[in-house]
Symmetry: C2
Subunit: 216 residues, 2 copies
DNA sequence: CCTACCGATCGGTAGG
DNA sequence: CCTACCGATCGGTAGG
């Protein structure tokens, strides 16, 4: 016994051999849980399911996490922060509005659809089963995420690529963006990057494009 | 004891007094269950929760439904068929493509967002917990639903109101349409009809509109 | 991390 | 529909 420390250890603690193992196993749990939550839903998944998927005994996950909710929170927070980091790594000043927007959509769909065996889609539906302070943390991250997209939309419109950049338009766009997790199949005909380009095209509205390059 | 008949009673059975009561109580259960499934998820809701919400004792819902899944199925199927009936009641021949499309979006958002105290949004997320034959039935209805929207999109493009009418574009649109259930609030500033008009505007892409009537 | 265990709850049933 | 009940399972804990 020892771990189960949410508030993380002291500063700069040089990890010893056992610590590394603990961290690895902890991470295995987060991923296995996220995958199961995605497939069967949070309440449809059992701590015993998660233990089995990680080759542990029924009570062992509680060595790493104090509760099932803490395990959900770890997965949701990690995924969301990962998404946000990807997007914030792209410099808006380094490229034109359209290129920036396309880079955002590509980065996000890559993260959403092909990270770690597909655990990230879980965040789209399952965050809502969090409560209290953990829910607040997640909502705060989501607000930063939405503000970033909102800004990108404003730039897009200022450059003449869309007719709207209001919050409602941004919401419609984000629904289409996140809706991909409900129909995307890894073995399907389109890669995440290709889907990204399709969505960018769908979202744009320049006069020139109305003369269809797209039939079918 | 008596009911609990899924395959419905004989043809044209004139309902007696008790039958009416059974039908009413059965319907109360479907609505209460759907509301709870929407709020807490299917697996996060207990048959006892549903019983309590209907002023029954713990075991009584099983007089009307053989299982929890049957109760879910009843709500999902009824909601989906209701949606489909609304849409099929609109005659495409009776109006121009744009008017038809707008009528569809309005009808659907009305059904989705303000029917029976808001039970319908449940179908967006919870149908996936169905299994076997019931799941197949629901997927079949959904295919009809999507085909209808696909046709509407083709008409929209033929009339020059969108640049795309391919299945992917239709999917993006439907995600935005159904995503409304995740942010719509009955006490919010916009009615379902107003949201419908916003979405129609967002989806259109005529050259004339690019000169923004919309700022912000 | 495993073993062994607990109290609570859950879906569902019998019998009227 | 209620009463009374059952077997199974669940989240979680103690103790090493």
């Amino acid at each position: 016994m020892a771990p189960n420390h949410e508030p993380v250890e002291g500063h700069m603690a040089r990890p010893k051999r056992e610590d590394i193992n603990d961290v690895n196993r902890r991470n295995d749990l987060v991923i296995a849980a996220a995958m199961l939550f995605k497939e069967r839903g949070y309440h449809g998944t059992t701590m015993r399911d998660i233990a089995r998927a990680t080759n542990m005994q029924a009570g062992s996950p509680f060595y790493h996490f104090a509760s099932k909710q803490d395990l959900l929170f770890a997965g949701v927070e990690e995924s969301l922060l990962g998404c946000l980091a990807d997007l914030e790594a792209i410099d808006p000043q380094a490229m034109p509005a359209l290129g920036y927007f396309r880079a955002l959509v590509r980065a996000h769909l890559q993260r959403l659809l092909e990270t770690q065996g597909g655990m990230v889609p879980m965040v789209v539906d399952e965050w809502r089963y969090l409560e209290g302070a953990q829910l607040e943390v997640v909502l705060a991250i989501r607000r930063r995420f939405e503000a970033l997209w909102q800004d990108a939309f404003v730039r897009l419109k200022d450059a003449g690529h869309t007719k709207r950049s209001d919050p409602m338009a941004c919401r419609f766009f984000l629904s289409a963006l996140h809706g991909t997790v409900r129909w995307y199949r890894p073995d399907g005909p389109l890669s995440p990057a290709e889907i990204a380009d399709e969505l960018v095209d769908y979202t744009l509205c320049s006069a020139a494009d109305v003369e269809d390059h797209y039939s079918r």
